[in-house]
Amino acid sequence: MNESLDLGKIERKAFSSYLQDGFWDIFIGFLLLGFGLRIYTDNVLFTLLIFVGIGIFILGRRYITMPRLGMARFGAQRQRRHIFLLVAILVAVLFTVALWILYAMDLLLSTNIVDIGISLVMAVIFGMIAYYMGSVRIFIYGLVLASMTFLVGNMDDELASLISIAFGAVILIVGIALMVIFIKRYPMKEENAGDAW
């Protein structure tokens, strides 16, 4: 309770407390691992790791984060930013699909343009997510993902996939470490504490 009365800071701290659980890191770690292992082994089953990451993210938030941290709804300004972010992601996804369609129809001469386009879209999406969350960490992950997308298309597949696997493993370990710290920092309160009053 030793915070100064800076309302903007209080709001940012309240919001960023949801980022301390490490589940974003775990999700991005699995994404990079799935991406790298899929190319390295040429086994499509490794793509499923991405869904494992999504599953852990959803279940972790539901059964680990919420019962420890409690629930909050943020103000109108953040909700507007949230809608803006969703619209931007939708536009980015449509742009990516359009690039692939153009490529499939032989309207784009080089896969380089597709790679650059998708890399830029990834960087922009993660940049916006990072801005919305106020997290430099997520922004760095976005840059890593964007670079990996570009590198896989433009350098030796084996080397690019190994770099992706290495980054994925590091980010996953960071996520797990953050999750453990979070669990220690926010132990379970007595049952129904969130519903007290």
């Binding site: 309240a14 409690g70 629930m71 909050a72 504490a193 007290a196 009053w197």
Partner: protein
């Protein structure tokens, strides 16, 4: 020289400061709820660092003053209690900040 609690030449006097909000724990609760639309009891416990009993007693005082309200809702199939500032509570907090600003601004360097 003004007497105790009296304004410094037309400024804000100590009795003008809302004492329900002025208590540090309640001030943190009000500040947290001011920047949020609503929050549950557990979230406020974590954000303010207050114990269950302490938070309960401060909440009771704020509720009695008409500054916070309880909203019952369902999360999935489970009932969940959210807390939020009333309009009166928001106005009181804005007024408290204004008066404290004026009051502290009146104190000579």
């Amino acid at each position: 020289m003004p007497g105790e609690g009296e304004p410094i030449e037309g400024g804000v006097s100590v009795p003008d400061i809302d004492k329900v909000i002025h208590e540090p724990a309640r001030l943190m609760i009000m500040a947290n709820l001011f920047v949020l639309e609503s929050a549950d009891f557990l979230f406020l416990m974590n954000r303010t660092g207050l114990t269950f009993g302490n938070l309960s007693s401060h909440m009771k005082k704020l509720e009695d003053a008409g500054y916070i309200e309880v909203v019952k809702e369902f999360v999935g199939r489970k009932p969940h209690t959210m807390l939020r500032l009333t309009m009166e509570g928001r106005d009181a907090f804005i007024e408290y900040r204004r008066r404290m600003g004026e009051f502290l601004g009146d104190i000579p360097e």
